[in-house]
Subunit: 372 residues, 4 copies
């Protein structure tokens, strides 16, 4: 694993837990890599890795490393992932795939070559592994929604409400790439495409920096990324989607919300109550129709057979364990003709990046439609 901050902690928890919960091969947690030797040494001990190192190139070259899990900031993804794939390793790369499209294209080329050699190149859109969202996907695939016409997605947070909150690398374009759009909008758009099984074909977008200047080290400094963004999406299956994201949504803590409206039913999900999927079955008699709170904790629900009895809910972190579980199964089964592989892969990440770029391009073109 390369990186040991927030995402490194979450991924470590998953690697530590996966074999206790699921029937997967045991994986040694060999090396954790970071630039600051003291800090990475402490992380190795705390997060229970066998060794630590400061040079990821040396680690990638080792024969006893099979999987490289990349938890660094986005601007480092391309170099590491390409090197790891070329060294014959399976790769799990945190989202976003890269900070710009050119890099992302190179990563996809490397991934395609590696996949042809039987390697896995997995991208970490972890929320696909939240059981309630996996159940939503199953309901859609089973036709329970009929034709999906309209999707309403948003991802709202409020950690920038205080206008005296200071500058950071996340608020500068050169380090962060983009703001709310790239950070959390990417999840919302990924869910729209993933749940519907449809790809975005045209985009209209708007970006806004609501607090344009914030205190930096030398006085007020320009915020160069978006605080909030809106997009209107056309999908190739005919659905229309709206996406709204913000870091200024007072009272919203981590509110990824998705609603799907179809000819036969509807679904609703909110990441602040991640164990609930709300389902409306429009084929029932009218007098008994209603939005139904499915508490997604039954053995019959995705991933749940591995955990606790019904009604014992999961937390945010469990989806990372599911992600590692799916990765290990994809690796184990990659030779089998019926293997489903790991989704999303790097190509999915590039496609998503192009949607986000189109939102930015549309905003720059005064809202004009950008076709993909």
């Amino acid at each position: 694993m390369i990186g040991y901050a927030f995402m490194g902690r979450a991924h470590s928890q998953a690697w530590r837990t996966v074999a206790a919960a699921f029937d997967v091969p045991e994986i040694a947690r060999r090396v954790i890599v970071g630039r600051d030797e003291d800090a990475v040494a402490a992380a190795a001990q705390r997060l229970d890795w066998e060794e630590h190192a400061t040079d990821w190139r040396e680690v990638i070259a080792r024969d006893d490393i099979d999987i490289v899990d990349i938890c660094t900031p986005g601007f480092l993804h391309a170099e590491i992932a390409i090197a790891a794939l070329e060294a014959g390793k399976h790769v799990l790369c945190e989202k976003p795939l890269a900070n710009d499209t050119a890099e992302a294209e190179q990563m996809v080329a490397a991934a395609e070559a590696a996949q042809a050699r039987g390697q896995i190149a997995a991208l970490g859109f972890t929320y696909r592994r939240v059981p309630a969202l996996a159940l939503a996907k199953r309901f859609v695939e089973d036709g329970r929604l009929g034709t999906i016409r309209q999707v309403k997605a948003s991802y709202l947070q409020d950690w920038l409400v205080d206008e005296d909150a200071g500058m950071s690398w996340r608020l500068r374009r050169e380090t962060a790439g983009s703001g709310a759009l790239g950070d959390i909008g990417s999840h919302a758009v990924d869910q729209v495409q993933h749940l519907t099984g449809q790809q975005v074909t045209a985009v209209r977008g708007r970006l806004a920096t609501i607090v344009p200047r914030r205190p930096g080290e030398d006085g007020l400094e320009d915020v160069t990324v978006d605080d909030a963004a809106w997009a209107s999406l056309e999908l190739d299956g005919g659905a229309l989607a709206s996406v709204e994201v913000s870091r200024m949504a007072t009272g919203a803590k981590n509110r990824l919300s998705v609603e799907l409206f179809g000819s036969a039913g509807a679904l609703r999900f909110d990441l602040e109550s991640p164990n609930e999927l709300w389902f409306h079955d429009a084929t029932l008699p009218v007098a008994e129709q209603g939005l139904r709170r499915v508490l997604v904790t039954e053995p019959e629900h995705p991933y749940l057979e591995a955990w606790w009895p019904q009604g014992h809910v999961l937390g945010w972190e469990n989806a990372f364990t599911h992600q590692v579980r799916d990765l290990l199964i994809a690796i184990r089964d990659r030779e089998r003709p019926d293997a489903s592989g790991f989704s999303p892969d790097f190509a999915d990440g590039l496609a998503l990046q192009r949607v986000l770029d189109a939102v930015i391009a549309s905003d720059a073109a005064d809202g004009a439609t950008i076709t993909l």
Copy 2:
């Protein structure tokens, strides 16, 4: 109509509205009766009654009066209702039927004689006409819950939380009969019996006066009724019910809540959200089971065809209009062999009173079971 306070206003609203909403005979709002001439005159004008009067005996004797609607305090119910029934009028009497059982028994005798003459003696447990509760009843009758095993009912209010709130007639046994138990517990027990279609056969109860003395006109005075009450009920169909009522439940405004648990499904209702009925269908596949919020505003729902388009919710007051509508239909159809009559009637009120008496008796007997 006799009485023009809170209940008089609500009943007047119903009489004024019923013919606009439902296909029922037009009823002239002939006379409103009260003891204070100025006040009842003002009420007649405000609530749109043709005349006012101060002597209910004279009014009951009039030939142009067909229905007597009794909205006075409970201790006056018996005298007026018996006189009205003996005068050949149909009677709608607000709950409680009476303040004591002896009076209630006399009222039932008068009602039975009157019913044999073709009169209606209706008791105003209005919440039976809340559409969501009427739908709950329909679901139970349609077998959607299977065998009902357990019922959890409560009615919580908070208007006595402030211990400096002063004495009133509602806090003295001689005027109020009982406290939370009789006032709101009666609704909870009525719903338990009505929704299950089962009668209480045995009772254990507890009463409590949480703030035992409150400021009166001459200093602190004893509160002689209960602030809160609990009961455990056995029903003749095998269900077991718990009932909890309180006027000290901080934050609860008018929270009549009922949950029914059956072998095939469950229902939940809360009067603070009266347009919603929550239904759990335990016969669906496990992976899609969940409590379903039915917004009870469809034309297919009880009473709703008379009102507004779907999604346009009703308020607390509409149930009074439904009650008057059902009364008028009961009167119209009373000669028909298939007429369903009006439920509850005075006998139902007496049966309910006996359950409440048993709660009090059980508490007096240190919680011992009282059999009915």
Copy 3:
């Protein structure tokens, strides 16, 4: 009153009820007007009007008529309202003000002349009188939200989900003017402007007809209005708003939803639970912050002192009574220097119409910003 369909019924209920609930002058319900004599005669009886008539011009000319309440379809508003205002009457006109802007401008001219003569020209955006939304307005005016940055509004219904549902006048541009945008989007945009106290200055919009052809009398026919619409709005106080409306939102019955995000707090409202206002106070200590469900039924809440005790909720129809109450007070107080008048008036309706037109114009211009 002119018109006796859905809106006529709701307005009649309000006129019948207002003097029983509020301390306002008594108003005789003189004449109800419609084109079909039998139908309007039946309506007069059912809805309790003294007379009926078929020629609105004759009625407007009568001396015993002081107020004209216009509940006809939108394309008749201009002619009637202008005539009534010129005849010296006070006018209450249902929304939308008119089906096109040219007519609306003429109406505003007539209203301004009439207002100068002391007449009231009121527009019926009734939802401003829902107590929870009136309380929201009060919270904003009291500064409880600080600076409002972001607004998320939607109005979702589902009565067109069935693609075999047939054509009607509401689905043809020539009769309806527009589709979901004009019908329900107008309410959403009105709330955005009303609650923030800010006016829209720039608009980007999208319209969609999701089911483009529906069965008509002679086979499939083109739907010429929108099924759904989206808008992104800039307001003159700096807030940014999104609006989404649809008649294809499976499971949504009458879901007008508004969320306001400010520097000091947030508010949330949903018309399917109209007695609840959710308030987040961001000035409290972090550990106790949360979205708070205010059950808007206290005497301290707008309009509530007139109704029932706390916890006894109101329905959709009560807001119409509040509207008539405010109209009568505006008429009574119109000479007083401190009179607040009636809001919205025709000029507000025209301003709103221009926002909706801008949404349509933006969509026609491939999403380009339209400045107002």
Copy 4:
């Protein structure tokens, strides 16, 4: 650790995770003990313990063992816990303390002797470590509820709704001790006492076996424990509490629900949404009072500084990690004069057991009050 079933898995997860999340001493997971050698060997590997063993006496005798975590069924608790305490080990014992009071008294004696020697004897009522319930406790201690008058607690599950579900050790008195009362009622009563800070002084109770016979290996067999139970409790601080528990509550999966009503505020919690605490502050102006959903995921909330950013919710399992964290801190600080120790201890468990016994005794005495 002794035992490797459901609770053994949950405790193992906690031991594996605690040092990654919290700043506590590292603890080697030395030995896991079970009777079936193959099964315990598999568990040791899966749950990541260094060794496995089949004889708990040998393990307790080892010098390299400091803490004994007892996850066996309740009837084995006494023997193991007493032996471990006498061997000088710290003990964490899962609830219930024991299956009968005599054993529990012996355990308390052993624990008191051990505590005098500086050992910790901890009892695993893990729900006290759910952050929302720890926050509730803090609110009560800070006086935010004023005087607590009324408590409404319930714990509802539905895994026995199917009357064809077969017999198991949990349904026989000789193995299980009691049914819903002991299994889940113990949690409800513990929360009542813990959150109020008051001890039960008097009890009235009822037990019911709703499905009295179930299919066993040789035909229908008597169920000898309760399916559901109800209790009415008096507490030494003046509060009155109701408790209702059931395994027949259709649709309820793991619904431990607690409501506290005080003179200054109220709290509500539901274990199916464990990251939410609902707080009503009755000292605010009436017009803005309401039940407030506090999403308990801020660094300011109990235990949360160790986990993820705000809005990233925890699951059922995290409370076990908190329990181990508190145990390790209690061990580390036990010599310090200001150490808070670990609560609950064995004496708390015995006191709780006496409350549950009183419920049973009251039911046997036809509901009579049992004084403690």
